[in-house]
Symmetry: C2
Subunit: 247 residues, 2 copies
Amino acid sequence: MPTALRPASPQLDARPLYRQVEEILLGRIVGGDWPPGHALPSEPELAAELGVSQGTVRKALTELELRHVIERRQGRGTTVSRHNSETARRHFFRLRDLSGSAVISRIIVVSCDEGRAEPWEAAALGIREGDPVHHLRRIRLLDGSPRIFERCTLSATLVPGFGVPPGEFAQELYVYLQQAHNVTIRRAEEDLSAAGADAETAEALGKPVGTPLLMVQRIAYDVANRAVEVRLSMIDTERHRYAVRLD
Amino acid sequence: MPTALRPASPQLDARPLYRQVEEILLGRIVGGDWPPGHALPSEPELAAELGVSQGTVRKALTELELRHVIERRQGRGTTVSRHNSETARRHFFRLRDLSGSAVISRIIVVSCDEGRAEPWEAAALGIREGDPVHHLRRIRLLDGSPRIFERCTLSATLVPGFGVPPGEFAQELYVYLQQAHNVTIRRAEEDLSAAGADAETAEALGKPVGTPLLMVQRIAYDVANRAVEVRLSMIDTERHRYAVRLD
DNA sequence: AAGTGGTCTAGACCACGAC
DNA sequence: TCGTGGTCTAGACCACTTA
């Protein structure tokens, strides 16, 4: 069933055609018609279905590709992005060792509880104070040593029934969210500062209280731009650096 | 004089045409034929001169625009990017106040000397140990308070005769480099960590030695991808945050 | 009114991947 | 071999800026 992009009646939507195409395609992905890993119709097929030229479809697909919503490969086709440990880390894990190389990371879940949103969590997640949330505490081992203590808060309305067992957890959180809860994280905002280690963090990392740590507050958003997670990471930067490229 | 993009003899350059166009245009900008602020020929003119279609020129220009080398405006034309305090800050100054708003910043030059490159400086700048460099120390006031102490090292071969007087300095360093030394910074890499304040920094910021500070090491590259500056910034994050977007 | 970049089309050919 | 996305062309019309 072709989507009516340009009805006979005068078009009030003044946005460029390729923006509208982009939104239609994104809608199908967000709505679950095309789940992660699904192969999209070919460009000529999409063009015919939507009643636009292949060039317009291409421009829309290029935008979605830049936002990592889809992946295109010559000869193979276009698929909805699927998180895996590589892409999840490349996009959302900025730590490198002192030589600039990627880091081997292991994750230990300390605890996972249900709770109510504190004011700062509610503000970050765009929900109301007291709304149900899940709390997750994790320790990350970088190259074998405990270097990061993370306190994560997830909006329970977006990931109902969330829960992971304590102990080592091999999977990246965002891969797990996609596979187990059908929630795809697409972007995040981080605010960085320096702080002395608090008691809980100091114990988790085996450092004295007050040790200077890199504190990262992250808010993660899904494909539909909903805030899913707010996370406070306390990072021991003795042997690692948080890498940023400005261009 | 048209540039021969596709000679009669078989073309060995297998790169796409638009990449070659991109390189030609970038070459004219780097070479100084088109200085910052200069208006480029129109797309049809470039297409005719280079012997390609306007669509190919457009794709090359789009790439350069994404890299902030040029700026395009409908009806007005395309110009070579010129640093000003707005763009310089938007790209290279990541600090926000606790509400996420931009910050009013003043710069005080503490000292400016000539010197020889230490090993770590030489490694960062891609020069040899002992090569001539300029050292610059600055204090930044954010919203009126001293919050950042910066130690900058510039490669003297790229900015010969560099020098700024001590005291307040209204201009952004990269704007000054472009206007006074014809060097345009286009991108930078930053490595972030947490560290206790050393004696020099503690005095500059009026904080006790050992106060946790955000330490940022930046390497700045010009349009020709040469390392121009390495900078160590010590930042008091009591009332400010370093903002990063991951997408 | 003239000229610029922005959008959109229709069609050609090529490089790559899967069968 | 076939279908995919990648490149390239030629030309139309539109929206914006400047004069």
